[in-house]
Symmetry: D2
Subunit: 260 residues, 4 copies
């Protein structure tokens, strides 16, 4: 089975790039399932029903998210009705939406979990405890487990990779919007990458107009950030999962940089 994972879709530029590249990549690589992080799809912050639908129309099967999930308030109106839209599972209960979903594909169930890190991020329930709890609940039902670990630091993400090595088919990171080059299959068979990177405007800082971000860094006063535009970067990763063992046998990063 071939599974594609696509990083944080940033604003209109990100959605346009998704629509432009995802169908072709899926076709070329015989992708069975596409998982896309949509937390920044609406103007760089949050997700709306409209941007979610665009992501689905581009070919996503499952949409993950992160700390920006709540930025557009309307999300609470539709998140419970979307079976394959997940938000970090370690928001304290009760929270709108769900932290994992089970996606049926042929004779298998793919459990897709979303968790947030805590290093340099706001307090949350422990992602390590939470993933144990979820795995216990779904491991009999799901042959394949995929985790989108939405976290800031390389240390917390790498630690999670090791923590799930042999227990998940794939652990990928999101949130930093920069693709890392450390994709690998860990010794017990779990595919791992620290960050997928984003799908969004290159001429930007994490998808936002660079002048405003620079002004913020230089002067320390509040500055309004706006989604940038222009040439896009498309960031994704593809894994090949063995039908017998449900472990990853091949892993490939995808990075498309449109010219400046």
């Amino acid at each position: 089975m071939k599974i594609l994972m696509v990083g944080d879709i940033c604003g209109r530029t990100g959605r346009t790039a998704l629509l432009k590249y995802l169908p072709g990549i899926k076709k070329e690589n015989n992708i069975d399932i596409a998982i896309v992080n949509g937390e920044n799809s609406a103007s760089g912050r949050g997700i709306t029903k409209r941007t979610l639908d665009e992501i689905y129309r581009a070919g996503a099967d499952i949409v993950t998210s992160g700390n920006h999930i709540w930025d557009k308030k309307e999300v609470v109106n539709f998140i419970d009705d979307e079976p394959f839209l997940v938000r970090p599972a370690n928001y304290p209960e009760p929270a709108p939406g769900k932290g994992y979903c089970i996606y049926p594909f042929k004779a298998k169930n793919i459990g897709v979990i979303n968790l947030s890190g805590r290093s340099f991020m706001p307090p949350m329930d422990c992602p390590f405890q939470k993933v144990d709890y979820i795995l216990k609940k779904i491991k009999n039902e799901c042959q394949i487990i995929i985790l989108d670990f939405h976290a800031e630091t390389t240390s917390e993400k790498i630690a999670m990779g090791w923590y799930l090595d042999g227990r998940a088919t794939c652990v990928f990171g999101t949130h930093t919007h920069v693709q890392t080059a450390d994709e690998q299959i860990l010794p017990q068979g779990t595919a791992y990458i620290t960050d997928l990177g984003m799908v969004g405007p290159r001429d930007s800082v994490l998808g936002m107009k660079k002048d405003a971000v620079l002004e913020r860094f230089k002067y320390g006063r509040p500055v309004r950030f706006e989604a940038a535009e222009g040439p896009a970067v498309f960031s994704a990763m593809l894994i090949d999962v063995d039908d017998q063992t449900n472990k990853t046998t091949a892993i490939k990063r995808i990075l498309i940089n449109e010219p400046f």
Copy 2:
């Protein structure tokens, strides 16, 4: 001119890997100058005269560092005597050592600057103000400017890349110990990568034994971290600098993963 930049050397495993790979890479690629980040060369934290000398013997010309520079106390005994060992320039004055050095090569001077970020890092002087100040001082003297920006967040690093685009030959990031895949030449000709990644043990979290780090994340109580061992990762980047314009014309990431 060909310049190689090598990421944070982690402990004995990192030093051994440096000695194993650096000479060959230099030879194969006709490297003129090698810049190596040594902040973790002594047991994963800090640098000693002995580990500095090992880094030089492996072929480094200039050694940069970061927040761990002070971890081994003996560093203050020799840092002022080392013309090509630099520490973040934005430590408040007065501080032992220097924040940049000028390395003469053939008819040129290469200014190598080291700065620390401030996002999710301890308070320091502003790296953006500081780099302006240093550039003003050395730009007439130096034809080529290279910055090791030792910082945590992708946003601060990318912002610095844009800030220096056209004013530096290369801006590379260190500190996260994971190589990013976003090496690129920015529109005004500055080579950029968010993080070089480390030279150290793969079976680890950022160079440290993974069980201890995991225990720390899971239980939140203090745990002693020790340098890990085993197969190494070697992370570097190579740029080709035009002799006329002093801008980067080619950029290449280097990532060697020894098998688990």
Copy 3:
């Protein structure tokens, strides 16, 4: 000379309490100069021309502020025209407004400085370096120096108290909105208190409606904070400055709690 310092005025409730208590306190205690922190005077976040004027009308002579100074955008339209409104001096240059002012009173000049801390606060220029720089500039002109150190941690504030002991007439803290009981005259004659506390609604968390704040702490999702109302707390401190030595000879906390 008798100088009164009043803590962060929070929203309408705070402004009303200021108007209610300040005139009487000034009269009763023969206050010569009143310094009031106004950073939260406009709906709990920021300051407007209207709320600034209300603070002056209540009897303030000098208005200090802090990290919330920029929250209402109109502040940049009038801050440069207000000779006795100060904002943290360690915002990087150039910034609207000024970080200290010199208030003439009888034959003396009172230098009032505003600085922000950096521990658990956004990056700023170093407040310790900055205060040295300002003192050098104004110490010949000013017989009395007062610092509003707007900071989060007790350690940074206490450190600043010691740093200026003997060099300032008074160092008082603001920002935490809770009055501390550690008012004292340090050995070299500087009056010190870690935090003045706020002037605002008691039935609140730092001036904001408590249910929203609690929801934020419990569930970790974004919640809109609104200024609370109801019975007020009024927090201030009074110092008596010797006319010969310009040192503090007496210090008195003032705390009025309206009944729930």
Copy 4:
């Protein structure tokens, strides 16, 4: 019933001051139970069997702690054998020691809970969820509930006060080492103070030698901190609990400053 709560005992100076003042205060005020925070009793960081015993000998009945509880490694050897030594209950399970204890006094049980905050502190389990869980478990058994909320920010502490108003007899804060002046009985009868303050050397920053702390703030390089000495501050709070309602009827801060 009269209950005394004493803030963080800092090093030898703190232990000596405890021995000097606690017995007299207990006698004068007819204290029934004394609760003392011991997290800094061993050289300013951590607790040993010897310093714990000194605290008991000075007259403590129950010893609470905080983030420094693990600093002296020997604590894990004895913490499980100490029925009335508690550490923050929101360390993830399993952790040595216990997060609350039940202290029998005459016909009543006093439940003493210790929790750590999370704002500007390392990740922990949620203190609000945890206190609900503990209260559910012990509320039938305990007539009186006291919480030592060891936390950094005024907002998290005040929020906890409101959260438990009417459900606990007293919520007091520790950790900042500076006594706040906001002691009060909340509308539903819960005694509250944001921070008790410390018992330790005045000529210090939070109990540590001030020169080292200042050097750290000014230069940002690592500095060894040592417990300070000299005149002490003694910080405590006393509540009077109604025998029928188990609510607080009177509250009094105690602050003794030995002269410089």
